[in-house]
Amino acid sequence: MAQRKSSGAKGSPPPILLAGLGVQYDLRLSKKRKLRDTVLRDGRHSKTGKFWALRDVDFRVEAGESVAVIGPNGAGKSTMLQVLAGILEPSVGKVEVRGKIATLLQLGAGFDPELNARENTLLVGEFLGVPHNEMVRRVPAILEFAGLGEFADAEVRTYSSGMRARLGFSVATSVEPDVLLLDEVLSTGDAAFIEKSRSRILELMKRARAIVFVTHDLDSAASFCTRAIELEGGRIVADGPAKRVISAYKKKMAKRSATALRSGQAARRGN
């Protein structure tokens, strides 16, 4: 197969492709074979205690796009990122992600509290599957960016949560990804570090072929992203240019909270 350069050349496969994707959770953990049997059944909660976190998701991200994923809590946003990262396997349908992936989910995963910053950087690098030599080369830059000072040689167990998050962020963003998956990490540490991390993310966004950004921060989503999809109940309910989808979503939410408020007041008055 011919290796083409990026920029959405026609015919080259897209960096991200989800087709007919469904992720089902079994609330009583049963056998896998049974999971497939219930595919045709409707409803998010079926009678057998199963639950579709994502359902019938068709989603294609072309090179150069950055997509915000918005929606209320429990809509399936994080599940979607986990599927894209290869952490969760879909119960049905197809997922294809091409190229190097960087995931910024929660920070500091994989750290061993008894190891120091350097050792933890190497450990997480191994979890991520980064070749050892490459990781060794990156260590100084990672430690520098995290700004740990004399704590770099101390065990991570002695770190404050901010320091831990900073180190986690530095490790996670040290790769040069083709596909960047973000889950609300822009608010890490103190004000100075937030600024620093923001520019690092923007830099990564410039280089990555495709970005998927899960957030509740609608304003930053509107400014960062070219496209937005709205998830609700595990399904995509809106898909389009970021500004349009986000403003429609804002209006919908405002209306919803107004009705909720009204019915709440009514209920209280009724008591």
Partner: protein, 284 residues
Amino acid sequence: MTTHSTDLTVGRPRRGSIGSIFETVAALIERRRLVWYLTISEVRNKGTNSLLGNVWWFLDPALQLFVYFLLVNVLFHRSQPAILLFLGSAILPWKWFTTALTTGVTAVRGREQVMRQIAFPHIVLPAASVLASVGNFLFALVPLGALYLIYPDRLTPWALAVFPVAIVQFLWTIPAVITLSALAVFFRDISNFIPHGLRIWFYLSPALFPIETLRAIGERHPWFGVLVNANPFTWIFTGYRDALYNGRAPDWVPLGILALASIPAILLSIYFFRRVSPLFVKVL
């Protein structure tokens, strides 16, 4: 401008049974450095945060030996020549096995966080746990070796045969830990059951008494004799005892059969692990 790769990183098609075993083993080899890091960190963590630190590696087996010595020698008045060596040659390897199982139960379950954040082959977790448990055995060799200061005439070149016997034990520890680490994700009760199950197993094995005691019962109740022969630790303990205590060659035939039989067990456990591992993140 960097050229971007278009290799598929997520969404490779699922393989059949042989393929998935092969794939899992390949992943283990590819991630050997991760396995090693996890092993080292598990070994290191044992010593930290306690006053005596790494001394516990030696003290633990020594104290356990002492407890059983009190029980058998003082309370039960069982006289056996070179009693400490007799007990130690079985108790210390057994301690390795129990530690491997009890820590193996949490090998996957305890790594919930990183499993939710990073995609990596989960098999590295039980693999590291098994390897870390070997440390137990190696450190226990020190108090065991010290016993020869008390019984110098028991030391023969056959003592070196502990290593092949230990390999047989290791080969059976692998499938046991892999299977338990996966099951424990779904059934938390396993960690409650394991200590009791292990204790029963221990008393049905020739550890605190010679094999002849069990054989005598087996003669009266044939089913018990079958049980004794089917128990891998009958042969493993006897092997250790031949090497360390009796100063003679272990009986290689049953040990060889055990070693061969471990291969399908290991492959099966890997297959089982691979099949259920996609569920880990969902259940945890």
